[in-house]
Amino acid sequence: MRHLIDILDFSPEELQELMDTANDIIADPAKYSEVCRGKKLATLFFEPSTRTRLSFEAAMIELGGSVLGFSEAQSSSAAKGESVADTAKVISCYADIIAMRHPKEGAPLVAAANASVPVINAGDGGHNHPTQTLADLLTIYREKGRLDHMTIGLCGDLKFGRTVHSLITAMSRYEGLQFVLISPEELKLPSYVKKEVLRAKGIPYAQTTDLEGAMPELDILYMTRVQRERFFNEEDYLRLKDSYILTPDKLKNAKSDLSILHPLPRVNEISVAIDDDPRACYFKQVLYGKYMRMALILKLLKEAGSL
């Protein structure tokens, strides 16, 4: 049974296959509007995430399927003390595919080991969020026409930002990339990511605290939010939350074909004045995320023999 728990569960060829399917859906959505008729997606969200949950639900509905599930642990049997393994076994009896978000790292892997239907990791704490990476990859691919040979700036919370770790890991398999890591000292990319991904693969990278200084060389600028929920200490959050705020002024020296991405939700790290700039891609990124989730649901259901 195939699942998607970590972005590395899929080869670059499989990611390309997903992007090709997503592009085909974008070109002709009507062709896909009934392909999942009679199939059910269970969205098991043990912590709130309206955006990701609605994206999965919209994806399944646009494929002609149905959705069921819950959006917080209090309304699930977890509140009664049920294990993730038992939940996965029970929901396998009701649904054809599961999308799970859980505050504990590794919970979707436990679900996958116990479910008899495909499990998609929709975010496990600060660990992995592979379908966000799918959205990021399709956005870059559609904006640049390629996933190789470019300079990618990652800005903000690079320490707790799981989307950043997943994107670096996924992109590390393409040639000719370099990364510019822009963050406050306290939120630098963890050393194990630098050592085990970037240095291990000989990928050049630079670390800086200076966003404007790095701007001219960037093809992609991936902004992130400093996430309150990842801090044990409120004082640290308040001190670091406004480290980087992207304004039109800071884009003066940027390339004309820069693409600005953000996994959303944003707080104030990208000024709303940027939204009308043609280089702002973050709302397109949301849309592409839905299409990639559609492509993913199709692939996993087909591989499970459900379609």
């Binding site: 505050p103 790292e105 590794g106 892997l109 436990v110």
Partner: protein, 138 residues
């Protein structure tokens, strides 16, 4: 110092000096009621100094634990006073319920019945990571 030869049992040899007690603890040898000898800082041509553990009973030992604590150790099986098998121990690819994840955000921190599984992710630097949250073992 004289330690009697054993008739039926196990000799864990070529333990890096200082790791004998750690192996004793992780193998749970304190629970045995047979004779167990830990010999520390023995002269060794190969290692300079080494520790040795002798267990005077033919019991199963967890080779994964030995490979995790000190790869390169040799395990000698003795029967009838004779060496019948000598095994060189390498680092295991996975460790199950040998070490425990300390990440409070890991699913193993709240689901008590889950096995604690660690994978070898970097053989050169002997790095094991939690299967679930990828936290590095200390």
């Amino acid at each position: 110092m004289n330690i009697d030869a054993i008739q039926n049992g196990i000799v864990i040899d070529h333990i890096t000096a200082g790791l004998g007690m750690k192996l004793y603890d992780l193998l749970g040898l304190e629970k045995l009621d047979c004779s167990v000898a830990i010999i520390k800082n023995v002269h060794s041509v190969k290692l300079g100094r080494k520790d040795i553990i002798k267990i005077d009973a033919d019991i199963p030992v967890n080779l994964d634990v030995i490979g995790y604590v000190d790869p390169g150790v040799s395990v000698n099986i003795i029967r009838g006073g004779e060496l019948v098998e000598k095994r060189s121990i390498d680092m295991p690819e996975t460790l199950t319920n040998v070490i425990f994840c300390k990440n409070p955000r890991c699913i193993t921190s709240c689901e008590q019945e889950l096995r604690h599984v660690f994978k070898l992710t970097d053989r050169k630097n002997k790095v094991y990571r939690c299967l679930y949250c990828e936290t590095k073992a200390n």
